[in-house]
């Protein structure tokens, strides 16, 4: 069985026909996973320094030189890296006295931190498959982002206590600003909210759970939802970018809602994280520092938004981006700062960040060309081997080589 790093579900039942070392027919890969597998043969990054192609060793030495010469380097990315590379990345940040951050600082970092710290109850996706009778997808559209979420874990499969199929045994609730493909499946379980209306929805749901009249248009429907959640035997809430951005960093209402639900019955929160090993990075950094992102090792360990990529690009003098494309995701004004910064990009494919980088170092695609380990979006550790041979170095080998040379 092969393994897919196309998203953070890390499907491990993939069958791949290897046709003379090349990827042939595949079974069980979703569309996104299939594209991920196909991508190994196109658009690959080549080693370069200042726009000229060089050998990979020279590129790594140039990267080390950039980092060694910096007073305030930022090491960013990591969601697309193995646990081993993340560990080496944290060590490199410590050695350099630099900052380290990942895209969770502008997405679901706070939610993940509360889960890892034990402030929000959680469970595994296997628990969800075996026991959950209510799945709530909140600002989350896994049908598009994690295509097998509903079929492998959260809605359609049979499980230990869920033997009768989704129509009788499970309920899907979707809270979103648009009728997403996931909402399409939930049909009557779709609650459409106004943009930024998550906080108001939380308040109304809390009222409904307490048996009070919720301040919403459709009071009856909200009361029914409250009753449904009260009666749940095992509830799961899957959080997405939509919820994280709508709550804007103030999770108090959400935490209190989950707390109220937990007083009544069992409810767990699992974030639906984008990159295959975002959870791994958040856990690795938390284990080291007590924080999931935005940490600097300059003058001891400090954490705060001022050490997130959005703020730190004003003051850092070198950036190393690993397996990520912040130049494409971040607002143009911030991308401009990144383009002007002295940047080292380590990645498998060409992207906007590598286009702007002074030094580019190509890496193997983990799970296909290299082995390693990582954490699934629910925190379950998964180990995997490479499937095909590759000329590319693994991410951990690159980081370690750079660290030796710094």
């Amino acid at each position: 069985m092969a393994f897919c790093t196309g998203c953070s579900l890390l499907c491990d039942d993939i069958v791949v026909d290897l046709d003379g070392g090349k990827i042939g027919k595949t079974m069980n890969l979703c569309r996104k996973g299939h594209a991920h597998y196909s991508s190994i043969s196109s658009g690959r990054l080549t080693p370069s320094v200042d726009g000229s192609e060089v050998g990979v060793e020279d590129a790594m030495m140039a990267a080390a030189e950039v980092l060694a010469g910096a007073d305030n380097p930022l090491l960013f990315g990591w969601g697309g890296s193995t646990l081993e590379a993340q560990r080496a990345g944290v060590d490199l940040a410590k050695k350099l006295g630099g900052a380290i951050d990942d895209p969770s600082s502008y997405s679901q970092g706070l939610i993940t931190e509360k889960i890892i710290a034990g402030d929000l109850p959680t469970c595994t996706l296997d628990d969800v498959r075996n026991f959950a009778d209510v799945s709530i997808y909140w600002g989350d559209d896994p049908s598009s982002s994690h295509p097998r979420h509903m079929s492998r874990f959260s809605y359609f499969p049979r499980g230990e206590k869920r033997q009768r199929g989704y129509e009788e045994d499970r309920e899907a609730i979707v809270i979103d600003v648009r009728k997403s493909p996931t909402a399409q499946i939930a049909a009557d379980g779709f609650f459409k909210i106004t943009p930024g209306g998550d906080g108001a929805f939380i308040e109304a749901l809390v009222a409904s759970l307490a048996g009070k009249i919720p301040k919403v248009e459709d009071k009856k429907r909200m009361l029914n939802l409250g009753t449904k959640l009260r009666k749940a035997k095992f509830g799961a809430i899957f959080t997405g970018q939509g919820l994280a951005h709508s709550l804007r960093g103030d999770l108090s209402g959400f935490v209190s809602l989950v707390g109220k639900l937990s007083e009544i019955t069992r409810f767990s929160v699992i974030p639906t994280l984008g990159d295959y090993n975002t959870r791994g990075f958040n856990q690795t950094l938390f284990d080291e520092t007590g924080h999931v992102n935005s940490v600097t090792f300059k003058d001891g360990v400090r954490h705060g938004q001022e050490f997130s990529i959005a703020r730190l690009l004003d003051s850092c003098d070198a950036v190393m981006v690993v397996g990520s494309d912040p130049a494409a995701a971040l607002p143009a004004a911030i991308a401009k700062k990144l383009a002007k910064a002295v940047t080292v990009a380590i990645g498998s494919h060409r992207n906007m960040t590598t286009d702007f980088a002074k030094v580019s170092v190509p890496m193997a695609v983990a799970g296909i060309e290299a082995g390693g380990s990582c954490l699934r979006t629910d925190g379950v550790r998964v180990e995997f081997d490479g499937l095909v041979g590759s000329d590319h170095l693994s991410d951990v080998d690159i980081i370690k080589r750079i660290m030796e040379a710094v």
């Binding site: 039942d13 993939i14 069958v15 027919k25 595949t26 079974m27 069980n28 890969l29 979703c30 569309r31 996104k32 996973g33 299939h34 594209a35 498959r129 049908s143 598009s144 295509p147 097998r148 509903m150 079929s151 492998r152 874990f153 809605y155 359609f156 499969p157 049979r158 499980g159 199929g165 989704y166 493909p181 996931t182 399409q184 499946i185």
Partner: protein, 155 residues
Amino acid sequence: MISVMEVYQLLPKTNCKRCGLPTCMAFAVALISREKTIEDCTPLLEEAKYEKKLAGLRELLAPILSADATETGMVIHPEKCYGCGNCVVACPVNVASDPKGTAIGRGPVSGKAILMVEDGVVKCVNVDECRRFGPEKVLCNACIATCPSKAIEFI
């Protein structure tokens, strides 16, 4: 869904019975259920005045006649498919015949699954096992109701 009336409008409407059926309306029904083929209507094929109707009918029935249409009338639109496997896991035939694979959300292991995902897109095999197939067919729609992108339809 192709309606009987749509098909009927493109037939000669002469009730000539040369196809073996009493009326053109009955022939329209038979075309949709694929008990008859366009070629069974000889006037439509032979008479020049039906040329436009014939072309229209071929276009209308193309999804039914394409290789994608399985014998149950299932049409998969691969360009819309997410490969999510919702249909694979929800399919009652898969659940019954593949309890350690598709029934619990994984890829098929028993060799008896009728829906599976290959190269990122769903495909239907062993079609005679589908509950919509054969004389005792039931109008199961598990694979349609669970699809996020309307990639499956029955015609």
